[in-house]
Symmetry: C2
């Protein structure tokens, strides 16, 4: 039995679909029904349901975007930093192995040689580097709190998308913004992401951090061209001159734009398709 | 009526004594009886008790010292950063003014000109400056979460002490450590601290941050000399050669040693005695 925390969120629902498709028995727990931020409540839940693996897909993301976190810092800290710490402690005490959905947004840019950040690189978009959004700061702190725990996967997601139109989907976001910015980014196809996360456990690869992104970063312009070519949008996309103009006009919190290296995951034999390919596939069956 | 959160702690008990002495009606709430970290629980408590001021003396300090926080980061974050954020939001919504016990340990050293840090100086011992203990990081983040709220006092305490021997008392700590380090620090006489905090509200001085410390920083050696002179200790105090040796041998987390400027508080007509004088007075009636 698998315990899924945060199962009603964007990533949690994808985990539900993935586990159902695989015929795996799981219990999806929503925080409003069972407040698993409370150690004793979580412990009781674990003792009652006796899972052999736990997935934490709960987290606080701002609405409609990361700027929302700047206005609700306490819940952002609680959901993204305190909660993983609570789960880690209770799981360690209950001898339960688990996986945590983290984020690649704790980086900005790329390695000095132009390659993607690897799992051993320290976050460079965090409270510690004092250049981050509050959201990114709390996600990096969440990973920091898991530092001492050996029996845990940390799965880093980046700008999720798939073929289903929705407010959390990167492709939908690009369509809805009045004006967008040119950046290079790693993305995670949501269904490939949850599949790969599950595979880390299924294959019993070593615990630790994994960048679960589609190899091959994409640019905003590249994705927009694909959208137009696929007929998903015929909008005349307007671009901000540069990041400075974007920050001045449209954003409150600084944005993470970064390239992550997926090779640690791929070396375990877990497949993720190329970034542009994954986007193309999603656009082909866009709903 | 005054609502006192964390009334069973070291600072909370001093607030209880102070309020009782002044004949002020208050309700002291312990978290084990009423979990005020939960916004709805806190809101209900406020609506039921209808206080006209709230004091938050709850916080997470490590046991036996700040190193303890490194081993319980989730509760440290919850108690020192999330909780003030929760209180601020609920108080703002319920139109309740309040005061928060913060800490001067979000600084290290002194201003470049040798004077103490003032309230407008940004913390320099915090996650943002990436040089701090986890405890200091969470206390600075707690202040950060209060940034947008206008109806709140932030009272900064530093190394509390008074005449009563106890594990949280700075003088007791000096006596009990096998070996100590020479540093210059601002201190807060605990009873003077709670008196001054209360006076900020009693006198309706402007809301905001106040360094509530005894003016005139002290050195470890200076205090030890006073202790020996007063006959409170006849120990042959051993000093670490320097901070580096102390960090290597005795400490896990970096320590904040700093000088704070109390003049903003004093200018409001609120008195705090000189640091060495306050120590001398405590030693004279040591229990």
């Amino acid at each position: 039995m698998i315990l899924l925390l945060g199962g009603s969120g964007y990533v949690g629902e994808a985990f539900q679909k993935q586990l159902s498709r695989r015929g795996i028995i799981f219990a999806s727990i929503a925080r409003r029904d069972c407040d698993y931020t409370q150690p004793e409540t979580l412990r009781e839940l674990i003792r009652k349901t006796k899972p052999h693996f736990l997935i934490n897909s709960a987290g606080y993301t701002g609405k409609p975007n990361v700027d929302g976190c700047e206005l609700d810092k306490e819940n952002c800290l609680l959901g993204n930093a305190v909660l993983p710490g609570v789960i880690a402690r209770v799981c360690a005490e209950e001898k339960l192995v688990w996986g945590h959905v983290s984020s690649g947004c704790i980086y900005t840019g790329e390695r000095p040689d132009g390659s993607g950040f690897r799992e051993e690189d320290l976050p460079n978009f965090s409270f510690r580097t004092n250049n981050c959004s509050f959201y990114s700061g709390t996600k990096a702190m969440g990973e920091e709190l898991l530092g001492g725990y050996p029996d845990c996967y940390i799965w880093r997601l980046r700008m999720p998308f798939n073929e289903i139109d929705g407010p959390r989907n990167y492709i939908t976001k690009l369509m809805r913004y009045d004006k967008i910015v040119e950046f290079t980014n790693s993305l995670s196809h949501l269904d490939e992401f949850v599949n790969a996360c599950w595979e880390t456990w299924e294959r019993r690869v070593p615990f630790g951090i994994y960048n679960v992104v589609n190899p091959g970063p994409v640019t905003t312009k590249g994705v927009v061209e694909q959208m137009i070519k696929a007929g998903v949008s015929n909008k005349n996309f307007q671009f901000f001159k540069d990041e400075a103009e974007f920050m001045k006009v449209a954003a409150k919190a600084p944005r993470s734009n970064c390239v992550l290296d997926a090779s640690k995951l791929l070396k375990c034999g877990i497949k993720m398709s190329d970034g542009y390919e994954a986007v193309e596939r999603a656009l082909k069956i866009w709903v």
